[in-house]
């Protein structure tokens, strides 16, 4: 299955956000991170649910220095 994560095409084996985050960031439940799928925030409480579908557009964000 292929999704778009932060603008890059990514092949994933599992359909959970937790697995995606483990693959991309090396942690399944990283602190200070939020995820949107197709423009909707997905709460941390369902990161272990198999909700990702082929072609989904996923954004993974965190806090950076900013004014």
């Amino acid at each position: 299955m292929t999704i778009t994560c932060n603008g890059e095409s990514v092949r994933i084996a599992a359909r959970t956000i937790a697995a995606l985050l483990q693959q991309r960031l090396g942690a399944a439940q990283p602190d200070g991170v939020a995820v949107a799928v197709n423009g909707e925030v997905v709460p941390r409480s369902v990161w272990s649910a198999p909700l990702l579908c082929d072609g989904d557009v996923v954004d993974v964000v965190t806090a950076v220095q900013g004014g």
Binding site: L25, G32, A34, V41, V61, T62, A63, Q65, G66, G67
Partner: protein
């Protein structure tokens, strides 16, 4: 009865520890964040939400959490209400705060707010339970519309973001202050301590500074200077300045002079 000088700033019913809000954008090293926070003693500290490529960025968050500062995520860089609302929702999920510094930029050259999109985003976020602090123009009419929409404060610009030009239109800032009942936070344009002091003398309740500190030659010392500038301006505003006069008024008695 004017406010007592030591009256604390309160936004949305939350009493804050100072009247200086601090942006972290532009600091050359994360290791400077801690010393700058210690010097500034900020009421709120802004951060931006960006795509995470690694968790190295997380070290900023650990420094901020260690300092036990209240975070104010911003929606910097958003060009539409839709983008700003999604960014605010992501910030709430990531950081566990429903406070947001709402920015919707209309023009990437001037970085001036798009007030039509801003008002739309503010209405949506207030409905969603957010405490909304909008970065806006120095226009009292727009400020009142934002407050009518439920914003907890308004943050008019002194001059364009990062310009360091200070308060270009003090009359407009005073007019914003007079137009609304919520706290007014001078945002954008502060270049040095006297700019912050002037904003406070005009009646602003707080000042937000980012670039003035982070791109100063010595950010830690400038952070302290801004804290003192804010405090001096607040005290001067509370004390009540003398009226301006076009003619001299002697302060020494004219009677009893040696002739």
């Amino acid at each position: 009865m004017p406010d007592h000088p030591v009256t604390a700033l309160s936004i949305a019913g939350v009493e804050l520890p100072s009247r200086l809000l601090l942006g972290t954008g532009g600091l050359p090293r994360v290791s400077l964040v801690g010393p700058v926070l210690a010097a500034a003693e900020p009421a709120l500290v802004t951060v931006s939400m960006r795509r995470a490529s690694s968790l190295a960025d997380g070290s900023l968050l650990s420094v901020l959490r260690e300092a036990e500062v209240r975070l104010l995520p911003n929606t910097a860089g958003c060009l539409s209400a839709r983008e700003a609302v999604l960014t605010a929702e992501l910030a709430r999920e990531a950081l566990g705060t429903d406070w947001v510094k709402l920015e919707v930029i209309g023009d990437e050259a001037s970085l001036l707010p798009d007030v039509v999109e801003l008002l739309d985003a503010a209405e949506q976020l207030v409905r969603g339970g957010f405490i909304v602090l909008p970065y806006t123009t120095d226009d009292p009419v727009i400020a009142r519309r934002l407050v009518d929409a439920g914003c907890a404060a308004v943050m008019p610009l002194g001059s364009p973001i990062g310009s360091g030009l200070g308060v270009l239109n003090p009359y407009a800032i005073a007019a914003v202050r007079a137009a609304v009942e919520v706290p007014v936070v001078l945002d954008a344009g502060v270049g040095t301590a006297s700019d912050a002091a002037l904003a406070m003398e005009l009646g602003c309740d707080a000042v937000l500074a980012a670039t003035a500190v982070t791109r100063a030659d010595d950010p830690v010392t400038m952070a302290r200077a801004l804290r003192l500038g804010v405090e001096a301006g607040r005290l001067a505003h509370t004390a009540g300045r003398i009226p301006r006069s076009e003619v001299a008024r002697a302060s020494s008695p004219m009677t009893g002079r040696v002739s």
